[in-house]
Amino acid sequence: MVETDKKYYHAIQILSDNCTGCTACVRVCPTEAIRVRNRKATIDQNRCIDCGNCVNICQFHAIIPRSDSLELIKNFNYKVAIISSSYAGQFSEDVPYAVSKQSLLELGFDEVAEESFVTGFVIDMVRDYIRTNKHIRPIFSSNCPAVVRMIQVKFPSLLPNILHQEAPMSILTRLIREKFKTEHADFDETDLGIFLIVPCVAHVTAVHQPEGAYKHLQDGAFSMGMIYGKVKDHIKKLQNNPREIDTYEKGLTWALSGVEAEMVEDTDIRALSVNGIENVMEVLSKVEDHYLDQYDYIVLRSCTNGCVGGCLNIENPFVAMSRIKKLIKEASDPEINIDELVDLYKDGEFAVSPLAPRSIMELDKDIKNAIKKMKQINEFLTMLPGLNCSACGSPTCYALAEDIVQGKASIDDCVVLLKRHSKDD
């Protein structure tokens, strides 16, 4: 169902004043959500999955990521930051991981928690889920919000295959909220503010519009890029005078899609790792046709190499991956007691409600009308030059033909035809 009137939160913002109408974004959008009309880019809110491709490609600072202002934490009496595993890959190797973690406290947080803390538990949970849901194959990792939204939008029949449990940072959020009740009895539950430090816009969107969440999760999301600038000064100061704090490097594997798959794999579990949104789409299409039924679990991440490739990160995804691998190798993590997490899992605290489709694929609800429209699309397509130049503002000639039939564009939008006609005159 196409719900055109539903307002959907997106962490991507277009600054029209900066937009030159160059159509670079139009061409890289995997769901064809962007059009340039009247020389300005616009995003179809129903189609956008917050993958961040357009943010990466825009040369004119016209498509910018939206995340919360650090001022937001002042609304809470007890502030917790949760850092995504990819955070560890953003700093040069002379900066100890502990220092980069510690410097977040200097920004005004009372506590800093790491996504990597729950990795060991999450691997166990994923394996348990795979083994108890034998009737569903393959099962997809639920961690990447852009992938979840891609499935809602373009592959709705595969929604039941998504692991219906919260992603690691939300699992950690639930744990912190539970612990807070007992450990900080002097505070009210509303005093606690939990914020994520995220590598991509999809995670910002997921904080503000979580899919399938039963309970209140986070209170805001900060961009890695924005935080990076702020912590760098503190890092310099702390480097000379580091404090002893616990860190959990072993679990940083979560930032790397390939390593996550390897960890879930077992004698009875075959896992596949796929990253990059084009690869994700190809694999999802093969799963639809049951060509990949031999896999029990598929890790799907929208960005190159996984979360290290997120558009809000500073470092190149390959360099960041190498640094994280080094940290994992040299790790000497303290023992983690996962009893509490296991209890919460058993109580269903991490369960996610069935995910609903956001299908954009149907041309019309009635198949006869849909065929009529498709015939018209094909007729317009034969008139168009077939260059797929995007100069009209639609990604391809086919998309323009469809836009014309759906009443969203006119054949006069094609500049190539216009030029040819003017020569004929």
């Binding site: 639809e288 694929m361 609800k365 198949i367 849909a370 065929i371």
Partner: protein, 172 residues
């Protein structure tokens, strides 16, 4: 369009029609109506990189018409297997998909060299694929049986040294 050069009385013919669909199938083949939406694509001999695009197009088109996932899967598997068959075993050919509001008709025609024994080719596991095809991970001998399993009607006309025509019908 010339109606399939392969249909000649001296050629072997194979039919499989799922029970319950006999009348509808015969009416269709007797009248051969022209669809509002027709997709065509070329299939190049031994080109496993681009082969599969035609069936991907068909699947996406049906998705846009709101066809349900189970039918989509049947169409995707049947058309993909047939497309790969043309690439693997023939000297190249083409795929034509006629999309109606209650069914899809897929027709694959090639430039030979034909199927010597159609009944044998329908046996799961039987394959005449050469080493190159097997190296590419194809040639398990499940192509035609898979098409049969996923279609409501399968019609094959072929003979050794002649072009082959494969027709598939799937109802929504």
């Amino acid at each position: 369009m010339q109606d399939c050069a392969a249909v000649r009385s001296d050629m072997a013919e194979y039919w499989n029609i799922e029970s319950g669909h006999e009348e509808a199938i015969m009416t269709f083949f007797d009248n051969r109506p022209v669809a509002d939406v027709v997709l065509e694509s070329e299939i190049t001999e031994k080109d496993f990189v681009t082969s599969g695009r035609g069936s991907a197009d068909v699947k996406n088109t049906l998705k846009r018409l709101g066809i349900g996932p189970e039918i989509l899967r049947r169409v995707a598997v049947a058309s993909y297997e047939a497309e790969i068959n043309v690439a693997a075993h023939s000297n190249g050919g083409k795929m034509e998909s006629s999309i109606f509001d209650d069914m899809i008709h897929l027709r694959f025609t090639d430039r030979g060299p034909g199927i010597a024994n159609i009944e044998q080719a329908m046996v799961p596991g039987y394959s005449t694929a050469d080493d190159l095809v097997r190296e590419m991970g194809f040639g398990a001998g499940l192509g035609l049986p898979n098409i049969k399993k996923n279609s409501d009607a399968l019609h094959i006309v072929s003979d050794y040294g002649k072009p082959t025509m494969v027709e598939i019908v799937i109802f929504y």
